[in-house]
Subunit: 807 residues, 2 copies
């Protein structure tokens, strides 16, 4: 067995610290009160897991008081509550601003219990009253159908971090601390989740935290030794190795270890005081202009037994301190009298009668230990970011318009215009310090480089003369980790700020699971009236599958669209602006929006510009509209509709319409462009969706529709099902055919080129049946010709000659 | 600027090592030869990036020799080639078995160049001959349309690791080393990719590498300071902090730093020798029975300038050693005479005339430095795992059958039967040592615990008495990281072994991007005749969205199905066995298959068993079939088809059929079950897809189809489009409605309950139009009744009473 003697590692503690720990800063009274507060939190944790009645043990425990099914996680909870109680003391004594992020997945009952003890839970859920009835309801809701999950969740007041999918507590914590100079984010890292890649990579966020303008993150690595069954890897490491690991990530480790509560209380209090002083010292130095290099931040390593204060043994097997305490230390309570007795003696060991008064109200002397009002971690406004959100000051996006006198003539890098807008967003909001751009080292590559006229890359550490726009004060957050970019942005927006995550399309899949989890967070938050709306999570996908130049097949994948399509319409939005002016209009909308996950997909290379600004605005407002100038149906019912969504598909579609005008002049062709992909859903499936009448207005009721799509070809069928006669919709799109090649060859490989689209149109118009063989032969010849040209000139990466707009 | 004096960090080097480095193990002749070999590799790298003709510089360089578009990455390449040349020496001198995994994304030309120099490239691509013509072709194929990408790719012989998406080199390396006692996997980690979460988490794989039976991984952390534009975070750390970081991850760091080639050669050679001795020492000790705790493995930190040996300055700006060398140090070669001259003098600095003979053949004295035959890293059989693949010895899966006398009566945890089969797979293949189970600490939770009768969890480090089936010899790989599970398994199968990754369904999204990248790898490998087929990547998804008990909405998401649906049919398979016997049949098929990514989705809780083994085998062979016993159409054309895919949907569907039999006895209902989801595609879209005739045989040509689907509801429409009249297919499935609740309530919330399915059927059968209001009212009443029961008994997690099979 691991030993849990109180000890302070010699590796990292000074003599002063050690002495302080031995004596401890807590008076006997305070120590006793904190111990009892902790007992109350532990009691409530056990009660939530086990009890459906008799929550205060005012009568002997009987089988009918026990839940029929025991769910929840005891193991991590006592440690989480210990930390909570100690942070409360820190907040009260220093009148400081702290939020609590609980990394260990299933410590829900601990955090819920503490939110209840300090009153916030009853404020946001008034039915859970501060009395015996409220306690009973608290227990009955926990981990029960229709209740709350066993992990820290959106429903937990004070949380900005769901304990569902593991690994993001540190990236969320740093995101919360950026530009929050006053805030300390206490981030508890479980030893299980510490094994996950995103968590492991997030330690190094220290290289991006500037004490002169940011808040602080205090990581508390909680080692209790086990996951569900196996040992936690880092928990078996020596203190020396753990200290080295933290040193290598920019921290100074402070160890607190033990299983004797009074000693652990004193040691933890002393360590927390020391870390607080150190944090404020670092900040004061930096704010006095003394930031040199990168500070070494304090971190706490807390080693306490799994299921601490729980049963030592169950059925002759060790329980406390082992994996057997991970979830429910003993089951069968209803049928096993011995287990029932063990549970009762366990719960009574917390002396509930000394914790709650006759009405079931928390004892006043203990309740007084909690911070007041907004200082309570469960009520801290930063953990309900919408309450402190300041609107972005966004310049008029029309000022960045590309002049488009004639459509499809000018070529322009569309994202460069967005970069200019973002530059001025930085300028206008410099005082509010509430906007950041997150990107895996691709800001310039993505043509957003104009931001560097006014803003720098963030790097806290040695800067060299040769560095390019690098500063500890920068708000362009470049790190080669999609997980960090996404996690930081999530933490930043959930605490009431704004941002954009710009990344290569294919590699947005790296953090897709985080995007899904954030979407779920927003979906649930919308059902909670007490959670104020936050800024949307804006994701710009560039370097798309259609234009990857020297990169090959591994870089080609529009998969995030599919991932987001299935999420609830209340939250998800996907925009495919075909050119710069549409991009500007869309971006403006997204930056102003609340509680959405917005995907914006557009390439970064020079591309044909189609719409002048006023037309673009109207088009984006509609989300989808007929492009009359590219159409040849003269407003009549066309023979065929050519639809598109995405920049390259739109270019190919417009070219296909032009081609058909040359070779089948009597064909009525309507061109429809879709910017807001969700418009294609039936209205009953998505709030942006179209009614049947609207759909028919654009796509007719029964004419063939040839649709060129940026994303995976068949996803469109998932969207349009439910509209009239969807069998007639024939989609071309990315079909998992790719290599290192030109955009035109990519279109050919995936059978989405202008000639393929024209051929598909010809094939499906009944009245062309007789002429189709000749027309299709012509298309085939064109494809062969284009292919031959591309093969011949393959090193020239040829732009196949431009096809102009039809007028 | 960072200094690149030759230095050996005092933090970790012994005096002996330091002296060895100063003198060095290389004779003057060997040093000269290795330097020239390295020059040749660098020359080929530059040639691939810049040249389309005159590849040997036999005439003065002119604009027409230059590629029209310059793509590729010079910066990381010289370091990668240096390591290659030194590993070659190690292999030859020690006759040892080494493969090379290049983490830095875009070092393609370096690895391709080295594969060419040692002859393998010409062996697998005979058109790229060992002469001037071959060299010209080598250059023209690089990063060119229709050629090879600029990163290390599937096409690169010797690679099992694509340099596309970053972050997986260490997990692949450890996967390759498991159960390969003879193999050393040299894994170069770029300082950029070191920022990614999956890479950061993979260092700790040391806790799972057993020197007594596994090979070794030698990480070489290559610091050259920059990503595309910004500094690499770890590269700005002090040697002390880097050594501490590596110590904390289980390594002993050895630093080699410099910019003077001879000194770096000597220092690197000495360090490599030392590390090799250390690795073999650790292994010998362990194999002599001396494994105590966890060995501390050597790791090399190589700090050399970015773009080393490239132009020092371009246009008055520093180039070598800065981010400006990341890709192409200078462009505009065709039009800028100064750049052309600089390129020529740069290339001539490698003295190509001393490296290649008159015919363009590599000089024999240099070629002789490369290892021979299979010892060449580019020809090592482990890097073409299919060539060394040993078939799994799989017991007859029929032996694990659940007895099903009457369908839908017996309840059984289906995955428990699979666990028994896997147990015996472990036993039968113990000698071959070529099967492992990978899982984030959920093996028991997923009901696969029978494997622990014969196999242990793997953990190399201190074991405690209280630990449960834990051993350094275990082959059940539990780590709380989906990235590690997936990456290890990928490395394990790509080097010729077998395995299964079992994980919670929702969190399979964590590593979805890796799954996509592996799928792409297999798709491309299938086009290369020289790559032998490898075992499939098998992924078992349990704890599905329909049955999550105490976990809430964050744990509910069948998204990986959508991700895999869009991938090429040659590679991807999705199976949804409805019960244990189908699961066994499917698993047997998957374990025997090659070059697929197989998803198997099934819940772990007790569930109704439908098919006896012989029926299950026939059903799985068909992939989809009519369940006559549940149907009431008596073989005639039914009024409605009830289809399903997935366990809970199948239970609800069968119950809906039974319900309809009671209340609408004159209705002809056909029940169709789908095990192999890809069967639903039109045959022209997927090799498992159905012809129109087959589809009509199952689903009729025009009758309404009510389909209950395990995954996101609308995904089915993506699959079936192209079959006759898909407007008539009405799908119910996961619709992003979830919370902590029972499976039945989940079905109700997502409107997929038996009553919802029955109502949907009634709604769509034309001849029921008159009776529909009454019938639908009855359905609504049933839903309300069931809901009320569930609300009343919500703590009982009620199993709504079972609906039996119809006969």
């Amino acid at each position: 067995m691991l030993k849990f003697d109180v000890q302070v590692s010699s590796a990292v503690r000074t003599t002063e610290e050690r002495e302080a720990a031995a004596v401890g800063p807590l008076s006997a009274t305070l120590l006793d009160q904190m111990q009892r507060y902790w007992q109350a939190a532990n009691f409530l944790t056990v009660a939530q897991i086990y009890l459906r009645g008799n929550p205060l043990l005012r009568e002997p425990l009987r089988p009918q008081h026990i839940k029929p099914r025991l769910l929840g996680h005891w193991g991590t909870s006592p440690g989480l509550s210990l930390i909570y109680v100690h942070l409360n003391r820190l907040i009260r004594e220093r009148d400081t601003n702290v939020i609590y992020l609980a990394g260990p997945g299933h410590g829900g009952p601990a955090l819920v219990g503490n939110a209840y003890l300090e009153g916030t839970y009853s404020e946001v859920y008034p039915e859970v009253t501060q009395d015996a009835a409220g306690l009973r309801l608290l227990c009955r809701r926990f981990s029960t159908p229709g209740g709350i999950p066993s992990h820290v969740s959106v429903q937990t007041p004070g949380s900005i971090h769901e304990g569902g999918e593991l690994g993001y507590v540190l990236s969320h914590a740093f995101g919360a601390a950026f530009d929050a100079p006053d805030l300390i984010v206490a981030a508890v890292v479980g030893d299980g989740e510490a094994e996950s890649g995103p968590l492991a990579g997030a330690w190094r966020s220290t290289a991006f935290l500037n004490p002169a303008r940011d808040g602080a993150v205090l990581p508390i690595l909680h080692l209790n030794g086990y996951k569900i069954s196996g040992p936690a890897v880092i928990a078996r490491d020596s203190d020396d190795d753990i200290a080295a690991f933290l040193q290598g990530n920019g921290y100074d480790a402070h160890f607190v270890e033990g299983d004797d509560p009074p000693h652990v209380h004193q040691a933890f209090a002393a360590t927390l005081d020391w870390c607080y002083e150190r944090i404020r010292g670092i900040q004061q130095d930096a704010r006095a202009g003394g930031l040199v290099g990168r500070p070494r931040w304090p971190a706490i390593v807390l080693r306490t037994p799994k299921g601490w204060t729980g049963p030592k043994e169950v059925d002759g097997q060790p329980a406390e301190g082992t994996f057997r305490s991970h979830q429910v230390p003993m089951a069968d309570i209803r049928t096993n009298a011995e287990h029932l007795a063990l549970l009762e003696s366990w719960m009574r060991s917390y002396e509930p009668e000394t914790l709650f008064d006759a009405d079931g109200r928390f004892m006043p002397d203990l309740a007084a230990l909690a911070p007041r009002g907004d200082r309570r971690m469960s009520a801290n406004p930063s953990a309900n970011g919408g309450t402190v959100l300041v609107d972005l000051d966004i310049p008029d996006f029309r000022d960045y318009a590309v002049d488009v006198d004639r459509p499809a003539v000018v070529r322009q890098e569309s994202t460069r215009q967005l970069g200019k807008l973002l530059r001025d967003v930085f300028v206008r909001n410099a005082k509010s310090a509430n906007f950041r751009l997150f990107c895996p080292d691709e800001t310039k590559s993505n043509r957003l480089g104009n931001v560097f006229e006014v803003e720098n890359r963030c790097f806290v550490g040695p800067n060299l003369d040769v560095d390019d726009h690098l500063s500890a004060d920068g708000r362009v957050m470049e790190v080669l980790s999609e997980h960090l970019c996404e996690g930081w942005l999530e933490g930043y927006t959930l605490t009431g700020r704004h941002g954009l995550f710009a990344t290569y399309e294919a590699f947005a899949m790296v953090s897709a699971s985080m995007t899904v989890q954030h979407t779920k967070w927003l979906q649930e938050a919308r059902n909670l009236p007490w959670r104020a709306p936050v800024a949307s999570l804006n994701i710009l996908l560039t370097s798309t599958c259609w234009r990857n130049d020297h990169n090959g097949f591994s870089h080609q994948g529009p998969g995030l669209i599919d991932v987001m399509l299935s999420k609830r319409g209340t939250v998800t939005r996907i925009y495919l602006p075909p050119d710069a002016n549409c991009l500007l209009s869309v971006a403006d909308h997204c930056l102003r929006s609340r509680d959405y996950v917005n995907l914006i997909v557009i390439d970064k290379q020079p591309q044909l510009q189609f719409l002048d600004m006023e037309t673009a605005i109207a088009h984006c407002a509609d989300g989808a509209s007929i492009w009359h100038r590219a159409s040849t149906d003269d407003g009549r019912e066309p023979d065929v509709v050519l639809g598109s969504a995405g920049d390259i598909p739109t270019m190919e579609t417009v070219a296909a319409a032009w081609y058909l005008r040359q070779f089948v002049p009597d064909l009525g062709v309507r061109v429809v462009n879709v910017v807001d992909l969700m418009r294609l859903f039936p209205a009953r499936h998505h709030p942006h969706g179209m009614t049947e009448a609207q759909f028919v207005d654009l796509f007719t009721a029964d004419k063939p529709v040839i649709f060129a799509f940026h994303g995976y070809q068949r996803a469109i069928h998932e969207i349009v099902h439910g509209h009239p006669d969807v069998d007639r919709i024939h989609v071309r799109g990315f079909n998992e055919q790719g290599t290192t090649t030109t955009p035109f060859q990519m279109a050919v490989m995936n059978e989405m080129s202008r000639f393929h689209l024209a051929a598909e149109a010809i094939r499906h118009v009944p009245r062309l049946r007789d002429r189709a063989p000749a027309l299709l032969a012509e298309c085939d010849a064109r494809i062969a010709e284009a292919n031959a040209y591309a093969r011949e000139h393959f090193e020239d990466q040829p732009e196949i000659r431009d096809w102009v707009w039809s007028d």
